[in-house]
Point group: C2
């Protein structure tokens, strides 16, 4: 069956990236070319807009507006963290029917593909021709099937550039510097810090990914050894470091996050006036009036205090790289931006094809004679939902280090050229 | 007297910037043209290298090396935080005499100009013709006399770009976002967050500078009001916010930093094995085994917990912008880079002039018909040491806000063009 004539809906979900709007605009520009798609509606804040029927009409947006939006970080339609229930997905499908929606594009991570799948399954039950395409985006690069995710390249470029600058800073004013990098269950972004290394003694000297087990005592030994060897240490730590290591988790076992454990050492004894007036879901307060911490924000600071305290090193600093990793507008990878646009375009092309039902756009690498090249293809929604991808074990050496050559081969084209740092000749230091 | 024939020494001091190496290389390139300067030595880690006679010979560095170094963030010679004693300055002068050093260039903030002044005063006592030029750099922009400091423009560009991305992120996933910005006693960098505002409802919605008194209860009221008005709040907070406000300090009074006060709510109850084995200067441990916190790293996190707890808002996040403000290599302001180079060049030109003694290079704005233009001049070292500059009071409105028009007029040329963000037309949200 050719694509039915009807309307289309697109939404954005989950944590924004620097290039998610490229996919969004790519889809609009392509959809305009297909007469099967009568009107194209942008759902405000993902499923929330689909439940409340809050839409932006997209086809009449002037091109200069679309062009500017495509270069704007984060999600122009608004995003959402909520994963809808089955009932909500059914409601969304009902709303779609009333609007004669025949095409649904959802840009997001693996949860979004599950949402898309659920909505499509209600359509399938009724034999309603709804075509559903999930368009991948994550900075964590943790989606299954696809070679890499749009959004990752720009985030990795930001991380690599931070470490390039910080490596110089750490050379200039010696000490220990710990940078906490995003990626709760996948080490791709943290590993990207390694791209900063341009000379033999450059940092990051130590890299801790969530895939590997983290032991604080071993960490301290590593930092101590590095500091003694180089007079400094630049350290990359994933926000998701955990006791077991994702590689070693048994079926159904949950990682014990180091951030949670470190937070448990902290008592935050706020004055009463700053405690919630009534029982609150937002913060937990114990019987002593201590606020329980959650999240990873303090992990870098606590680690740096432990390094200071245990190793008696005076200059120890930590930065948590934070949101600029996903939204900094001046370090977008050109290739990442192009590919993000392309998956938006290709999602629409796929959706209008004969007999298309559902799927997630994916990228395959088809390098020719060593020249980077990709193709896109469609993989069933179920193949990318529920689980996520870890840093490949094949890129870990027998002694548990990242095989930098293999990883660079994969990541270099995604990140693009990075600033080159200078060194004196007759290298005196 | 024309410049004497002899050697030159240059050093870099204090916190690095993204363009401090431009000044360094500018000085080398110019010095090569003046036969009065026989050899040019770069001191490793500022005064430390001058005390230990650790130098890099600079004239023979190939141009491509110098060119790459000029584009590398942080201090290629190494930097230092130590402010030398009078005795050490005397020792440095003695070392200079032995090396026939006649020209001394020191790139740094106001402490460095004091060091330069001290060294020069020993030369003056002996009637030794030493010519000393302080070359300004700070990201805080807090040096007296000069219109602005090389290094500030690039840091401000980074801060503005972070807020541009974060404003979009905060629009996409509503909530309260607090960003802690560098500048312990001067609000220039924090105020630069305002450059992110491109549309009427854009953030930052609230900006807290060290010049103004900070009251936590007023802060909470401000955030509450903003969140109710916009459904979100993007907040810029200087790391140096304090109870009194720099503007209101009485002679000799020290600011009571909010970071220190907030840290006092935190008990960090580390396991014994992570406490120092013996009395340590590096961390303070109280009788209960609690580690005392110092620094500003946790301020953002503690503020965000207080906002959550007091205002019962679930989505509250904080980032401390950290070292990328001073070393991120992909957001250098082109004008800042050019001016940093120029002050290095002009420092050498000044030093070799007839009867020159000492001074700090400074920038004067001499716009013509509204077109940005500068001149440099030399101001006595004593005029820039000891004290620092605050955000000008003339740019504060009667109701205590930043006069954005006046500040933008000053800062826009320094920062350069920023990414433009897109908005749907028929603005639906």
């Amino acid at each position: 069956m050719p694509g039915p004539k009807g309307n289309a809906v697109i939404g954005q979900s989950g944590g924004p990236t620097a290039v998610i709007n490229r996919s969004f605009i790519g889809a609009i520009m392509e959809a305009r070319k297909h007469e099967e798609i009568v009107e194209f509606y942008g759902a405000r804040h993902g499923v929330q807009g689909m439940l409340r029927n809050e839409y932006v009409p997209l086809f009449e947006q002037p091109n200069f507006v679309l062009s500017q939006i495509s270069q704007t970080p984060a999600a122009a339609l608004g995003s959402i963290r909520h994963k809808p229930t089955k009932e909500e997905c059914n409601q969304i499908f009902d709303n779609f029917k009333k609007m004669n929606v025949r095409y649904f594009f959802y840009i997001g991570g693996n949860d979004s593909s599950e949402t898309a799948y659920l909505i499509n399954s209600f359509a399938a039950q009724e034999g309603y021709d709804l075509r559903v395409v999930h368009i991948p985006k994550t900075i964590d690069n943790d989606l299954l099937v696809t070679d890499h995710c749009p959004g990752f390249g720009s985030a990795a470029r930001y991380v690599a550039a931070v470490f390039i600058g910080d490596n110089e800073d750490n050379r200039a004013l010696k000490g220990v510097k710990i940078n906490v990098v995003m990626g709760r269950n996948a080490g791709f972004l943290t590993a990207s810090s390694l791209l900063a290394k341009q000379y033999p003694k450059d940092g990051p000297h130590l890299v801790y990914m969530p895939e590997m087990s983290f032991d604080l005592d071993q960490f301290l030994k590593d930092v101590d050894r590095t500091f003694k060897e180089h007079g400094r240490a630049l350290v990359a730590v994933s926000e998701g470091i955990n006791r077991q290591g994702i590689y070693n988790l048994k079926n159904g076992e949950k990682p014990e996050y180091i951030s949670k454990w470190l937070n448990s050492f902290v008592n935050l004894n706020l004055p009463k006036k700053y405690l919630p007036k009534e029982a609150s879901k937002v913060v937990e307060v114990d019987s002593h009036g201590n606020v329980s911490l959650s999240g990873t924000g303090m992990m870098g600071d606590i680690l740096s205090i432990i390094v200071k305290s245990s190793l008696n090193i005076s200059r120890v600093r930590a930065d948590t790289l934070g949101y600029p990793q996903r939204s900094f507008p001046l370090s977008v990878s050109e290739l990442d931006a192009q590919e993000a646009y392309r998956v938006g375009v290709d999602a629409v092309i796929a959706a209008v094809q004969d007999n298309f039902d559902e799927g997630s756009l994916a990228i395959k690498r088809v390098d020719e004679e060593g020249v980077y090249q990709i193709e896109t293809f469609v993989t069933p929604l179920q193949s990318v939902q529920k689980q996520t991808k870890s840093f490949p074990k094949e890129w870990i050496t027998d002694d548990g280090r990242i095989d930098e050559r293999k990883f660079r081969e994969y990541v270099n084209p995604l990140v693009g050229d990075l600033p080159i740092t200078g060194r004196f000749v007759k290298a005196i230091f």
